[in-house]
């Protein structure tokens, strides 16, 4: 084996940040090389440099032994570097074939459709990537759309394929399928750079792992000779607790009871259909599902942000479906919304102001309509310390803090008020291992103190490690509610994909 790609001592500065700082990487031919790192570790910057989107400030790129001086992605593509971005760059109304050949169409002035389809059939046969060239991209599942993106790279004769967080949007089954494809490609001599922050996936699929931290490559390891704990520690730079100790499941009274809830979206299409479930105090109820299967509508209905069509929502045995959002907060419900910057925080408010976003009207913080800033600041300095929000200056605008610390502001506000019910939607989305560890710890602590928690997450790992019971939602319907201890990835995955029958078979 010989080196296909060599990255020597690359440095890239952005205003105030060294995004890449003396980065080294060697990718051999026919190897799956994982790049592991927290958010902001510099993975994307490095990939964008390899793909020609950024020019490095210093350092050298070698591909096939030849020094690369890329002025743009078109040159990278020409050399045989392909990249599949996390967010697909596809045109939904065009067919698979049209998307693949776009920009490099066969034929002269007029587009030769027959030739294009033939070429694509040939490539998909060669690389075992079955697909119908005439299908419209918008009708394809996420997994198949990703396949189109991969085919796009091979249509342009890629020898190195960069996959940027390719599993983020996939179900477990689709992930397995993707891994199959990757192994296949590897056997044909294709090199793959696999970017991820999921340790288990890296462990499963890669041959080598390069860990990045704060813009630097901190080491390259043979996957076989390492373990998840070592990788996590390298990534964070300290000892990390991967598996949290969970105390005995000790459920109390029903706190939230949802019965036959139906919710429509703006186009009056039913997004939540006859959903029923209960959550008890001292329990974490995980809601698993692929994005866009009614989770958003369900949660917004629970919070009074969206009208319901029919059904009952009971909180501590009282109907709350008609209460406005603020009244629900007052009853002791807390809510960590999915999008912290758009829904959870006012970025141009200070940290202190954000910490009272739901309670500024309470007598605790205001008197006769005047905000008591002394108390607001007291609260802020207490919360900043307790939740380790950094920097500690609570007069800074929330927008000036890092994503992890922004999430801690929300956590401090929502968890710090000792809620009886916490609805947490993707509380660790985009967080790094260290922050995830912290947030999970706080959620478990809240559960042990007797709160009820509804945890909505797209990360199966998160749902499975925290939940006492797991509800799986597909197309607005709760397919099944499983016991957290005995549920398996496969079973949840099948339910997520909507196949109840096959899931039952797995059980048997």
């Amino acid at each position: 084996m010989s080196a296909l790609l060599e990255v020597n001592n690359i440095t890239k500065m952005f205003p105030k940040v060294r995004a890449n700082d003396g980065v080294n990487l060697v990718v051999e031919e026919g190897e799956i090389h994982a790049i592991l790192g927290e958010n902001g570790a510099g993975k994307s910057t490095l990939m964008n440099i390899i793909y020609g989107l950024y020019r490095p400030d210093s350092g050298e790129l070698k591909f096939n032994g030849e020094v690369l001086n890329l002025s743009g992605p078109h040159e990278a593509i020409e050399k045989g570097i392909g990249m599949v971005h996390q967010h697909f760059m596809l045109i939904p109304v065009l067919t698979v074939a049209e998307n693949i050949v776009l920009g490099a169409e066969p034929g002269g002035i007029s587009y030769n459709k027959k030739k294009a389809n033939e070429l694509i059939r040939e490539i998909s046969r060669n690389y075992h990537l079955e697909i119908d060239p005439d299908a419209k991209v918008k009708d394809l599942s996420v997994g198949l759309q990703q396949r189109v993106e991969i085919l796009k790279a091979f249509y342009r004769h890629a020898k190195l394929l960069i996959l940027d967080e390719p599993t983020a949007m996939l179900t477990p089954q689709e992930t397995e399928e993707l891994f199959g494809i990757m192994r296949n490609l590897k056997n044909q001599g294709i090199s793959i750079i696999f970017i991820s922050h999921k340790l288990d996936e890296v462990k499963e699929i890669s041959d080598k792992v390069t860990v990045m931290r704060r813009g630097k490559t901190v080491g390259t390891l043979n996957t076989k000779e390492t373990n998840e704990q070592e990788l996590a520690n390298l990534m964070v730079g300290r000892e990390v607790v991967l598996r949290l100790e969970k105390s005995e499941y000790n459920p109390g009274d029903v706190v939230l009871s949802v019965k036959d809830l139906t919710v429509s979206d703006e186009q009056n299409i039913e997004k939540v259909k006859n959903v029923s479930f209960d959550i008890r105090s001292g329990e974490i109820f995980g809601l698993a599902g692929i994005d866009g299967n009614g989770q958003t509508e369900l949660i917004e209905a629970l919070m009074g942000l969206r009208p319901i069509k029919s059904g009952v929502i009971k909180y501590n045995n009282n109907n709350i479906e008609k209460l406005p959002t603020r009244e629900r907060y007052k009853l002791g419900i807390s809510y960590i919304p999915q999008d912290r910057q758009q829904e959870g925080l006012i970025m141009k408010f200070s940290v202190a102001d954000n910490l009272i976003l739901k309670e500024y009207k309470n007598s605790q913080y205001s008197k006769n309509g005047v905000i008591q800033y002394k108390r607001v600041f007291e609260n802020a300095s207490k919360k900043v310390e307790e939740f380790d929000i950094r920097p500690t200056d609570y007069n800074l605008l929330a927008g000036n803090l890092s994503g992890g610390n922004q999430q801690k502001i929300i956590l401090a506000r929502e968890v710090g008020s000792n809620p009886k019910l916490l609805i947490a939607v993707q509380p660790t989305r985009g967080m790094d291992v260290g922050a995830i560890e912290y947030i999970h710890k706080r959620l478990l602590q809240l559960r042990d103190e007797g709160s009820a928690i509804l945890l909505v997450s797209l990360e199966l790992e998160e749902i499975m490690s925290l939940s006492d019971r797991i509800g799986v939602i597909h197309n607005g319907v709760i397919m099944d509610i499983l016991d957290g201890k005995s549920a398996t990835r496969e079973k949840i995955g099948l339910l997520m994909a909507g196949s109840q029958i096959e899931a039952k078979k797995v059980e048997v």
Partner: protein, 351 residues
């Protein structure tokens, strides 16, 4: 302290750049910029009466500017302050001449409050509800309401119910009991300046210290997060636009009671439009509004003097005003210039 410096540094930079470009224009067109700026300054601040007139000019700008700043703070682009100013002026004039025998301490507050309520309804009810419940853009609705107000005043004064006997399109004079007295004789400076300063302090307190101000600013920055926090977003939109109108109306009333004493027929007072610039330069900070209003008032009074004494056309002040607006609105340009300058310096160091 550092924080204050940081926030006022961009507007000041914009003003300085505008002044520099203004001098280049004067040099090119054959005027002496130093003489021009000197006479501009003397005209604005050179003598006690000049200072008084500059302050008097600033009064309506401060109060309308506050109104606009309130709306901007709430994320609403109220460009109809001019019309709200007119509604305030009309109502204050009418109360001013229609009621006889009231003591001043009742007549003046009556006229002021009447004007504020009318302008608040004008600016808040129609555009506010239209925006909050149908999504109609406030730029369009406030501007249209502004035209309606201005043409309404034409109707009232040109052979309409408010026209004084005779052939001049103007209202009768308001009663003495409604007049806000002048501080300095033979100048336009009335005790209205104290109303303006009190208004600025009040708005600052309201926006930054009260629950209501907190909500208005929250809704202004991020409606979605405000809704998620349980705030009533439509109500806040209506209230912010009303409050914005209230202050524009107060400006019209103070101008009538303190300076004009009657309503004249004219197409525009100009205050409602300049107020937008005042608020922009002040970055919507109520205290900043006082200073930025003073600047534009000084440009106004100074330019007349400059025209007489340095023979520089008074329109040059308008050019400078325009340039200031440009650089304030486009403060990104200044940032780019700054970073280019820094980069150049770095390259020089490196080479």
């Amino acid at each position: 302290m550092n924080k204050i410096l940081k926030s006022i540094y961009m507007p000041i930079l914009a003003v300085i750049i505008a002044i520099i470009i203004g001098s280049i224009i004067m040099l090119v067109t054959g005027f002496n910029p130093l003489a021009a700026y000197a006479s501009l300054f003397i005209g604005a601040f050179g003598t006690l009466p000049n200072i008084a007139n500059t302050l008097a000019n600033a009064v309506p700008l401060i109060i309308t500017g506050l109104g606009v700043a309130i709306a901007f703070n709430a994320g609403l682009f109220n460009i109809g302050a001019e019309g709200q100013y007119w509604i305030g002026a009309i109502v204050a004039t009418w109360i001013g001449y229609s009621f006889k025998g009231l003591p001043w301490y009742i007549h003046i507050p009556f006229a002021l409050i009447g004007a504020m309520v009318a302008a608040g309804l004008w600016g808040g009810i129609v555009p506010g509800f239209a925006k909050a419940y149908t999504g109609a853009h406030e730029v369009i609705t406030t501007m249209m309401m502004s035209y309606v107000a201005i043409y309404f005043s034409h109707y009232l004064l040109e052979f309409g119910p408010m026209m004084e006997k005779g052939s001049v399109p103007q209202s009768p004079l308001i009663k003495d009991s409604a007049i806000i007295p002048t501080i300095l004789r033979n100048t336009q400076l009335s005790y209205g300046i104290f109303i303006a300063i009190a208004a600025a302090l009040f708005v600052y307190w309201l926006m930054y210290k009260t629950v209501w101000g907190y909500e208005m600013r929250a809704v202004g920055f991020n409606q979605r997060a405000s809704k998620y926090a349980g705030m009533n977003v439509p109500l806040n939109i209506v209230l912010s636009l009303s409050l914005s109108g209230i202050f524009a109306g107060l400006a019209g009333a103070v101008q009538i009671l303190g300076v004009q004493h009657r309503l004249y027929d004219s197409f525009t007072s100009g205050y409602g439009y300049t107020a937008i610039v005042v608020a922009l330069l002040a970055k919507n900070n109520p205290i900043g509004v006082v200073f930025s209003a003073l600047l534009f008032a000084a440009l106004g009074t100074g330019s007349q003097y400059m025209q007489l004494n340095a023979q520089v056309p008074g329109q040059l002040a308008d050019v400078i005003t325009g340039l200031i607006i440009f650089f304030v609105a486009a403060d990104k340009i200044i940032e780019v210039l700054k970073s280019m300058f820094k980069k150049q310096k770095k390259e020089e160091l490196a080479s």
